[in-house]
Symmetry: C2
Subunit: 325 residues, 2 copies
């Protein structure tokens, strides 16, 4: 029977760069550029809660790292390395191999080497914990509390697709095969905006990733910065697969909720002075990432969303909360 050490040796012992002490000692070691601080984040991903039991293991490996890289992106840090905790009910070697492939592929893409971790048998479902490390000049880190009155509010990429795919797979809304096919990638293969986050350091004031939904995460920026905001619904970059669908496939209220409050979106929401618009558009073009200005930071507290008639929405959908049922 395979053991914990076999598992690590076979699937999680790819070589690490010089200067890093990888898995195989009590700790992993890594260096930091003098003058920079370490940025770190950890996420717990549980079967049945954060992913479905039949998820493609390759996409799960990708996503487990992606959601953490997204946190580094949101603070503007450059990735240095990561740790993986893996609890499995049993060892299915093909599954582990594919999981490792998905994880390592994204790690390689962002220079975020797997330097250590922990494996254990889980008597419940698959349990994942990923911790990432990056480095950032502390005075340039993109914090939540730095939005300024008059700032534009921007969001990268598109919104809503992951939420729709997730709700179809969970049986919360009727399954439409074509719509699932066109939205599922957003759920299972999110692209962390790592390079964008680093480029934004010099131009943005506050930033956050939209993992808990736009309204909730923007709300953290507003609360942290002591400001309010207005958003314009028609400017929100809904995923193209969500537009032009008949009501019985995608009711308007489901679409609105997905765009405004749908979680599992690893895009950045950030604020910047209007004087930075041209520079930000250039950054977006260079990186091939759509950047959309969706509203304005204002002095009055609260978050107001105007619909296309200019009317403030009276009943905003709430965001994702892991402890609300």
């Amino acid at each position: 029977m395979a053991t914990e050490f076999d598992l690590i040796k076979r699937f999680f012992s790819r070589p690490v760069s010089a200067g890093l002490l990888g898995g195989g000692d009590d700790c992993a070691l890594f260096g930091v550029t003098p003058g920079l601080q370490v940025a770190t984040s950890t996420d717990l991903l549980l079967e049945g809660r954060h992913f479905f039991s039949d998820v493609d293991p390759r996409s799960l490996g990708h996503k487990a790292l992606a959601v953490n890289l997204s946190d580094l992106a949101a603070i503007g840090a450059r990735p240095l390395g990561c740790l993986l905790g893996l609890g499995l009910p049993a060892i299915d070697e093909a599954w582990v191999q594919q999981f490792a492939d998905g994880f390592y592929a994204l790690a390689a893409q962002h220079g975020c080497e797997l330097i250590g971790g922990d494996t254990t048998r889980s008597q419940q479902g698959i349990t994942l914990s990923v911790t990432v490390f990056g480095e950032v000049e502390p005075s340039l880190a993109l914090r939540r509390n730095a939005a300024q009155v008059g700032d534009d509010i921007w969001v990268s990429g598109t919104l809503g697709a992951a939420d729709i795919a997730c709700r179809m797979l969970a049986g919360e809304i009727p399954l439409d095969a074509a719509l699932l096919q066109s939205t599922r990638r957003a759920l299972e293969w999110p692209t962390p905006r790592v390079e964008l986050g680093q480029q934004l350091r010099a131009y943005a004031h506050a930033a956050i990733d939209v993992s808990d939904g736009l309204l909730q995460d923007l709300g953290h920026i507003l609360a942290g910065s002591g400001v309010g905001a207005e958003l314009h619904e028609q400017r929100l970059p809904a995923h193209p697969a969500l537009s032009g669908l008949p009501k019985h496939v995608l009711p308007p209220e489901v679409l609105r909720r997905a765009v405004l409050a749908g979680g599992d979106v690893y895009e950045l929401c950030f604020t910047a002075a209007p004087a930075q618009r041209a520079m930000l558009e250039k950054i977006g073009q260079t990186l091939g990432v759509a950047l959309t200005c969706i509203g304005t930071i204002r002095k009055e507290s609260g978050l107001v969303v105007y619909d296309q008639t200019g009317t403030a929405l009276s009943d905003l959908p709430s965001g994702f909360d892991h402890f609300r049922i």
Copy 2:
């Protein structure tokens, strides 16, 4: 109903020191002394696998951090901070409060502040992930591959009690109330040897913590260093509660297995030149930690354990493996 954010705010938002950016942003930030590297380790602890469902939440909070601090100790690093991932089936506020108290108390003792984490609802049991960070001069880090032929082999503290307590609680050996009472603390309130690890940097060659049992963990040093070892069973520091018991309470083979192979021991096993004996004894006295010389590193590969008659044990118990049943 309490939400994820309430939970973090109420129980896990104690102030952090200047220079640290704690929970409440996408990432936590911390600085590192110039010239030192970051040492990091992560552990996943699952209900039913690593702890019993009815465990004292205060001791669980303590132990979840202790097992990770023990990894910092084993490499000789000074703790800097930690992250906590917490998956709970439901929020029992009294439980969470006690868990947090146990966690924070040990963190304060070692200057290892909780700077971030993740909370989520678990549909299975309680799920914990802890990641610690420390700093260490890389050339002085206590690695597994640095044992030298002729080195003494040392172990701190005592062995066997956690294994006996765990087996009694799991029903694998008959429960003896007095024995449980005298061994349970070793299982539930382990003392990570953080200060010892730092003191050993200048004097020891290789080190590891004995979390998977002495034979298995010493085996990692031997394999990593390309050497062998001989141990003397009568020198092994069995926990005092395990001595002098009648056979029907503690059969000799159960005692032997507990001492040689029992896991969940957060003591350090390390090797050092015989010339360091006096210095090591002084360190042990200063810190109030028993340090016992239990054997010798030798050139011939393999691990030989001599019993009190000088006979090599022919059938060594194997260590703990999270994937072996």
